[in-house]
């Protein structure tokens, strides 16, 4: 019936397979092959996936803001759906980042949370992204609601840059993130890049799946509108 539903998402399945393999391989490799950190011990193994989620969050949110800007300049349903998919996935990876970070910090810095610049920045950026999504949900799918959501996503970009500047000035001499948790051997480097690649491809798959779903929703909504208009016209004809 529907053209999109019948199309086999071969590329998506392939990405998913690659992502799964990479993540799986990375987990096994991290558990078996990488040595425990000289200073931190086994807890350092959080690091590989923690940094990967940070990359995935950053890339998704930057892409989401950029696509929102594009949608603001030349509105299109496709761009809108892509922007929303990116921001959603960015928020999920942001949540993963904010959960794994404090658990690692507990061991390496002796406390769950410090107002270290990068921590503060990620917390605020995730909060901003969440508020963009909530706003999108509450503003409705009207053209105005879409523009409002997109403007806010665009606004978040310079805001994040300024927050970064401010918290860096503010943070002063807190421990820097990579201190004591760096890459100390070739195995660690391999594991690190495997985890990063796996998480990035997983994020890409999720964005693609959400994008398809949102596009489908848009098409269903449009069809429902068409159908209602048609029914109205028929009813009017019947009356005449």
């Amino acid at each position: 019936m529907s053209a999109t539903a019948a199309k086999r998402p071969t590329a998506l399945l392939a990405t998913l397979a690659v992502a799964t393999l990479l993540v799986e391989a990375a987990i096994v490799y991290i558990a078996v092959a990488t040595p425990a950190d000289v200073n931190l011990g086994i807890v350092q193994k959080i690091f590989y996936f923690h940094v990967g989620t940070a990359f995935a969050m950053l890339i998704s949110l930057v892409a989401g803001a950029a696509l929102s800007g594009l949608d603001l300049v030349s509105p299109s349903d496709r761009v809108d759906a892509a922007a929303r998919a990116c921001i959603e996935v960015g928020v999920v990876f942001g949540a993963m980042l904010l959960v794994s970070g404090p658990l690692w910090a507990r061991k390496s810095w002796g406390m769950y949370w410090t107002w270290e610049p990068r921590l503060t920045l990620s917390l605020l950026v995730v909060l901003l992204a969440v508020s963009v999504l909530i706003l999108r949900g509450l503003a409705g799918d009207s053209a105005t609601g879409r523009r409002v959501g997109a403007s806010l996503a665009v606004l978040a970009a310079p805001a994040s840059a300024l927050i970064h500047l401010a918290v860096k000035l503010w943070g002063g001499n807190h421990p820097s993130v990579l201190q004591g948790g760096g890459i100390q051997s070739a195995e660690m480097r391999i594991a690190f890049w495997m985890a990063v690649a796996g998480l990035l491809s997983f994020a890409a798959t999720l964005v693609a799946v959400r994008f398809r779903s949102l596009r489908l929703q848009q098409r269903v909504d449009a069809l429902e509108l068409d159908l209602s208009a048609l029914a109205l016209r028929r009813a009017a004809k019947g009356d005449a």
């Binding site: 605020l124 509450l138 503003a139 105005t144 409002v148 806010l152 665009v154 805001a159 300024l162 503010w170």
Partner: protein, 227 residues
């Protein structure tokens, strides 16, 4: 539209807003009362018997101003929400830019009024009347401008959004963090007698903040609200 025309239209719209506010006076009263209560609540929360905590002064001052300004922001577009007045204003010869700037100036008037009340109150209640105020006054001016620019944009974007009274602070506060951090820092450093060089760094951060949003906010407002 030329700069002169924009300025004239902004002035006209601002005069209208001031007149409306002067007639009803309810928003101003509401905001001022809220600010007073805010300072009182902080006093109850922070004052210890026998010891006055001078180190809480920056936080109390800036957080009170941020909260009270939010109340004003929620009422900023109240007159335009009725009877499609916002659409008419946007479609009129004025367009979005003068509307935005007049509302931002109106917000600045409100928050300036709040500051004129809150600053002496905090200084008196927290026994901080002897601290040097020069840098703090400069920071307040810059901070309120930044707050008005971002706040007017967010408030204007959310005119048609449900539950915006809850959503507005949720969106606004993370964006305002740099300005808030800088303001608190400037006041704290000048109370502690720190170097003017460090104060200068923070003040220049606030200047950058204002410069970014004096450009970004009207542009985004025009993009998001013109049909």
């Amino acid at each position: 539209m030329s700069v002169g025309t924009t300025l004239r239209l902004t002035g006209a719209l601002l005069r209208k807003d001031v007149r409306v506010a002067a007639r009803s006076r309810e928003t101003a009263l509401l905001v001022l009362l809220f600010a007073v209560l805010c300072v009182l609540i902080f006093a109850f929360g922070f004052l210890r018997e026998g010891a006055v905590a001078a180190e809480v002064v920056p936080g109390v001052l800036w957080v009170t101003l941020q909260f009270a300004s939010t109340v004003a922001l929620l009422r900023l577009f109240a007159a335009e929400e009725e009877a499609g007045a916002l659409e008419l204003a946007l479609r009129s010869v004025a367009g979005p830019a003068p509307l935005f700037f007049s509302k931002a100036l109106m917000q600045l008037l409100f928050s300036g009024m709040v500051t004129a009340l809150v600053l002496p109150m905090v200084l008196v209640f927290f026994d901080a009347t002897r601290i040097p105020l020069g840098a703090t006054l400069a920071a307040l001016a810059l901070g309120l401008v930044g707050q008005a620019l971002v706040g007017t944009l967010v408030s204007g974007l959310m005119v048609r959004v449900q539950m915006r009274d809850v959503l507005l602070p949720l969106v606004l506060y993370p964006i305002l963090t740099p300005s808030l951090i800088a303001g608190v820092k400037v006041t704290a450093i000048s109370i502690a007698g720190g170097s003017t060089e460090v104060i200068g760094t923070w003040l220049s951060l606030m200047v950058v903040f204002d410069a970014v949003f004096v450009l970004a906010s009207p542009w985004l407002y025009a993009r998001a609200s013109t049909p």
